[in-house]
Every structure is written in structure tokens, then in C-alpha cells.
Symmetry: C3
Subunit: 160 residues, 3 copies
């Protein structure tokens, strides 16, 4: 049996529009029969963080960082025209009108389609994010070597 073609995405950005782009590509690839991994690093970790609950991180600096950088799919902003929330709200409305999935729905869909959602262990360490900061759809933390191993077996690897 032929092996499945692979797609690997690094999601570095925590912006709504880039996250949507990443999930559109990931779920389309999965529906085409590709084997998909998504690796979340830096602000991209915000996309797969829980919307509720508080992080108990050690040290004043991590507490400050996590106070400012709350995370969670509901807090993502557009990279342009956020306009204190108005632009982001409009974009979500327009997408709903066309029956497009929200980020929450994309995450559930992706996991059901077998897309692996992997947080970067190194940036989690720096930011003080424990494994239970992430949603239930998310797999265990892994490092850059994991990503590179996936990427070099992939037909397509994208940094978003």
C-alpha cells in the first residue's frame, strides 16, 4: 500500500486570519487524503489554548506575560482592521454567513480528520505554559526535532 502524502504546517502567528488560513489548508489537505501535522509555536500557541481557566505560571515575568497574552481561540484578532474588535467581529460574521467554520469548529474538525495538533515544547517552556493550558484536541508537546522529522517526510511544509 502506498504511503499517504504528508503536509506539515508551523503556525507561529496568533492572528485570526493567519490561523484561519492554516486550518483551511490543513483540513482541505486532510479531506484530500493527506496526512497532516500542525506544529504551534510562539503566538500560534494562543490558537489552541483553552478559552477558559487561568495559567498558574512560576515567576513574576511569566505571570505578567500570561496576564497580557491571554490566548484562546475567542481572543484572536485580525492582523489588519481589528479596529478595537469591530473588524474582527465583522470578519467572523461574514464567515458565518457563508457557513464557514469558526476556529473552534476548525480545531474539532481537524482533530476528527486525524490532523495532529502539536505545541512546541521549547516555547511552552519559555512562556510557562503547562500541558493542561491546551484544549483537549491537542496532542503532547514536542520539540523542533519532531517538526523537522515530520517536515522532511512531507510533500509540503509551510511556515505561517
Amino acid at each position: 500500500m502506498a504511503e499517504k502524502e504528508k503536509l506539515t504546517i508551523v503556525l507561529f502567528s496568533g492572528e485570526l486570519d493567519r490561523a484561519l488560513s492554516a486550518f483551511m489548508i490543513a483540513t482541505t489537505a486532510a479531506s484530500m487524503g493527506m496526512d497532516v501535522s500542525m506544529f504551534f509555536t510562539f503566538w500560534g500557541l494562543n490558537v489552541i489554548r483553552k478559552n477558559e481557566g487561568k495559567i498558574r505560571s512560576k515567576g513574576l515575568m511569566r505571570k505578567m506575560l500570561n496576564f497580557m497574552n491571554r490566548g484562546g481561540s475567542k481572543r484572536l484578532k485580525l492582523s489588519r482592521f481589528h479596529m478595537f474588535g469591530l473588524g474582527t467581529w465583522m470578519m467572523k460574521k461574514l464567515m458565518k454567513e457563508l457557513n464557514m467554520p469558526s476556529i473552534d469548529e476548525f480545531i474539532t474538525m481537524a482533530q476528527q480528520m486525524g490532523v495532529k495538533l502539536v505545541p512546541c515544547s521549547t516555547t511552552c517552556g519559555v512562556m510557562g505554559l503547562p500541558e493542561d493550558a491546551f484544549r483537549s484536541e491537542v496532542a503532547s508537546l514536542a520539540g523542533a526535532a519532531f517538526f523537522l522529522n515530520e517536515a522532511r517526510q512531507s510533500k509540503v511544509a509551510l511556515f505561517i
Copy 2:
């Protein structure tokens, strides 16, 4: 006959500097004999929109979005040092001095070299952009499956 090596670029960004980077890579690849596709999504659609003419989109929100997000190669800004237009103007001047193509010239060159310029149908739908919002060099709209199909046959695929 050996098949041509392929390059596929997603242009997500609507910034002058990223667009220039994308077109430099695309036209250089074409001149090296590669078969190149560029897929434009989200703010990247602005790069290949007509400079003149108004979009007639349906609904108040799309009208507002298209009022703010005008599009067209002449309206692109640098991601840094735009400085109310001064920095962007300077960058264009410096490039002209070195006989480098403008975005307009890059688009024409690219099309003449056989580069396919494809707008993303899904984001066009969300933003209310009809097919005639785009310049004459641009091909028909297509979805993420088109991009993935191109990308998985490509030696190099970049998300810009």
C-alpha cells in the same frame, strides 16, 4: 521530455515588501525554467486587485470592508517604516533607481513568463470580491484544493 520543476507561492500578505519578495522569487524561478503558480488569499488579494474602479459588494459589512480595504498595487504599504507614505515612497524610488520592476511591472512580467496568478475563491467570497475586481493578468478563482494540488507537485512551496 522531463517535466518542469514547480514552485508554488501562497501570498497571504498585502504588504509591499512581502509582495515584492514573492514576485522576485516567482519571476526568478520562471526565468530559471521553473513552472510557477501564485495563489493569493486574504490581504494578498489586494496586490492583484485593479487600481481603479469600485467594488459593488452586497451587504453593509462587505461595503464597509471594501471601503476600508481598497486594494490595488498602488496602495500597498511597507510592513515597516511606512511613515504616512514617506517610507513607502522612498523604497519605490530606491528600487526604481536600480531599475527594479514595480509591482505593476512584476505582475505583467510574471504573466508573460507563464506564472499563473490565482485568487483564492473562499476569501473572495468572504470579502465580497467578484472576479472582475482583479486585473486582466489574473486567472480564474480557485480554492485551497487547487493550491494543495499544485503544492504537492512542487519542489518548493512557500507561504508569504
Copy 3:
């Protein structure tokens, strides 16, 4: 003897977080036995510019550009939460606490591991950056054709 697998990275961004991401991936790949090239263009050139010394560029516009756009690893800012330097300072502190390399250390490490660090000759021309604006670890300038040649022989190519 089997040839080494290759990784090629374009670093377009001059932000601390994206530069860190690029160097983490590059050095991890090198430690896994991959052959790595990094190609620096636009604001990414700032990452490998010397921290000291002044650029003597020709023409008023290039002088202005280089006055604003100083470059050097010590001047990189986070893409988010820079907060007049406080956020960037905190991120550096947190990374140091975990014994992670700084950008300076990453550049030296990368070069010692055989990673090629190549500035884009075209953007150097536009910005008026001479070859001696760059650190000693950096290789000679090269154009987009060099990058494409590396990329098409690579298992993985990323635009960051």
C-alpha cells in the same frame, strides 16, 4: 555515500521572535545532520548586521533609511508585546533562565555547525548595505537564483 538532506530558510522578518524561530529550526536541523542554508532579505538583513559601526551609504534616501533602520541583533524587537522594550527584555530574560541561546549565540553556533548565512544581494543594493555591514559569520551576498537553487534541492524550504 548518500547525500545529506537539505533545509533552506528565507528570513524576511527582522523581529526577534521570528528570528529565534528560524535559528531554532536551523540549528536543530544541523544537529540532525541536515545541510542548512539561511537566506536573509529585507528586514531579515537586520538580524545579521553588525551591532556596532555605521553604514556609509550613498544618497540622502539611503542615509535616512539606514538612520531609521539600524539593524544588529541587539536591536531586534518582538512582533508583539515589545512595550517600549519591556516585553522584549522580559522574553530575553526568560530565555536566558532556561539556558537558551541568544541571537548572537545562535548565529555563532549556526556558523560553527556549517549553516550557510547568505544576505540577499538585491535588497542589500536597494538598502545600500555594503558587504562589510554584516558580521564575520556571514557568507558572501547572493541573489534569488542562489536561494531557488538551494530550495529546489531541499527537503524543506520555509519563508519566515
